[in-house]
């Protein structure tokens, strides 16, 4: 029970990675708010897992304020914030409309900004006895580019820089800020990438695409949401009390290698 007595809020908390984080936090003894657009999030169904659903559109400041008011009334503090809500646009910049660009930035960057901004007063209260922890979602795509994902890559680069800036500004207040940078993780977003219009697929079946992506990883598989939740849990816990301002790549070794030439 690494998070006993702590209160956590996870945006995108009913989506692929977010849901696994919520489940893990609950198992570790935390009180967990799962914030999302709908109770189902990006997955088809939702079983009651003991988390508290908060309706939150991360692009709307009023939603962020209302969510934090609810947490303030219930517990008066927030120990852990996970900014896991995110979307991707599978296009080059030439194909991307201004509306798509703005939406992707609104969710991935502005959402992280707004939710964190309004969580800070509650997190300072939590930091009185230990440290409070904000965990943002960057991506390995914030370091190196996948083709046809220009806007997404740019938003994740922005989250990486924002993470370091927040860590500098709020470290003295006892608030740690880190970013997880996942590689390929089996989520609705990844499956949409395999089947989406932007992918083309090159005449390959989804199974062939999935296998090809697995094969390029040194670990010969892509990650599960639980793999990501394992590191989020550590960063959220007091064991990580000295970890701040870092970008934590978790990608099965994908970005450790030079491109895998077919030799």
């Amino acid at each position: 029970m690494m998070l006993k007595g702590k209160t956590a809020l996870v945006t995108g908390g009913r989506g692929g990675i977010g849901r696994a984080i919520v489940a893990r936090f609950l198992r570790e003894g935390a009180r967990v708010y799962a914030a999302d657009l709908t109770p189902e999030g990006s997955l088809a169904a939702h079983d009651d897992d003991g988390s508290i659903f908060v309706k939150l559109n991360v692009t709307q400041e009023a939603d962020a304020i209302a969510a934090m008011e609810q947490v303030a009334q219930d517990t008066g503090r927030l120990d852990i914030l996970v900014n896991a809500a995110g979307i991707e646009i599978e296009k080059t910049i030439e194909e991307t409309t201004l509306e798509e660009w703005n939406l992707c930035f609104a969710v991935n960057v502005t959402g992280t900004f707004l939710t964190s901004k309004h969580a800070l007063p509650l997190m300072r209260k939590a930091a009185n006895n230990s440290t409070a922890s904000i965990i943002n979602f960057g991506s390995y795509d914030g370091f190196i580019a996948d083709p046809g994902l220009a806007t997404y890559c740019a938003t994740k680069g922005a989250v990486h820089a924002l993470t370091k800036a927040m860590a500098c500004d709020h470290g003295p207040e006892g608030i740690r800020v880190n970013a997880i940078c996942p590689g390929y993780v089996d989520t609705p977003m990844l499956q949409s990438f395999f089947t989406g219009d932007g992918s083309g697929g090159g005449g390959k079946t989804i199974d062939q695409l999935q296998q090809a992506v697995r094969d390029v990883h040194p670990m010969r598989t892509y990650g599960t949401p639980d793999d990501i939740a394992n590191l989020v849990n550590w960063l959220a816990s007091d064991e990580a009390r000295y970890a701040s301002g870092q970008l934590w790549v978790l990608d099965g070794g994908l970005s450790a290698q030079v491109q895998q030439m077919k030799l």
Binding site: I144, A145, G201, Q257, V258, K262
Partner: protein, 246 residues
């Protein structure tokens, strides 16, 4: 003539990148000395001075440093690679790779730094493989990471008199690259696949690296020190997924 009046020493100038750098420095007006194991290579421009040198021999390096006193630009290019995993590497492999790529560069820097005039520039040839791993190149990858760390240390310890930077080449058209493709089951397909992974759709040439070396050696780079300059045609900016997969 961006290097007029400067004196340069380039290790490993027999062929490939080192030869390209030596020739580019010459065109920019520098006095160029290069060295390598064995006799003067055929076709090397007459005005380039050649010394036989094994950089692993510290005494010989010291002698050359005395003979070339007043060198402004030192390029540590000499390097060897052994294509093995850690488990397969022998003591002899270790001595060959670490001896030349690490100890050799150390020997050169230790001998030259005290003799370099104010405004001197050391350029180490690192590699993208020192930042991300090439498979079955364990000692080589590690030796290049050593070089990157040494580059920063020299910049920190010996500024402001001396600047020190590293260039990290990607895949450069040399005999070494062709030999690699010849080992593939389908050399032509392997070459096409590798090309598709470069945003420039071509491999590098020795002159691509030489042009960066000229800039780093010149006074235009007076504020550049302690950094790694990757010149790889976009290879490491892209994710390692198979090109055309999506």
């Amino acid at each position: 003539m961006r290097l007029a009046g400067k004196r340069a020493l380039v290790t490993g100038g027999r062929q490939g990148i080192g030869r390209g750098i030596a020739e580019a420095f010459l065109r920019e007006g520098a006095t160029v000395t290069t060295c390598g194991r064995g006799p003067r290579p055929d076709g090397l421009t007459d005005s380039v001075i050649w010394f036989p040198l094994d950089v692993t021999d510290a005494a010989a390096v010291e002698e050359l440093a005395i003979a070339t006193d007043g060198t402004d630009i030192l390029v540590n290019n000499a390097g060897v690679q052994v294509e093995k995993t850690v488990a397969d590497s022998t003591d002899a492999d270790w001595d060959a790779v670490i001896g030349t790529n690490c100890r050799g560069v150390f020997n050169m820097c230790r001998a030259y730094i005290p003799r370099m005039p104010e405004g001197g520039s050391i350029i180490n040839i690192g590699s993208i493989s020192g930042q991300v791993a090439d498979p079955s190149m364990a000692l080589y990858n590690a030796s290049k990471a050593f070089l990157h760390g040494l580059t920063r240390s020299i910049a920190v310890d010996h500024g402001p008199q001396i600047r020190c930077n590293a260039i990290c080449p990607g895949w450069i058209e040399t005999g070494m690259l062709d030999a690699g493709f010849d080992l593939a089951t389908d050399p032509k397909a392997a070459r096409q696949d590798a090309l598709a992974r470069h945003a420039t759709r071509r491999f590098g040439r020795p002159e691509d690296i030489a042009s960066m070396a000229v800039w780093l050696a010149s006074d235009e780079a007076g504020f550049a020190t302690g950094q790694l300059f990757t010149v790889d045609g976009g290879l490491t900016a892209a994710s390692p997924l198979s090109p055309g997969l999506f």
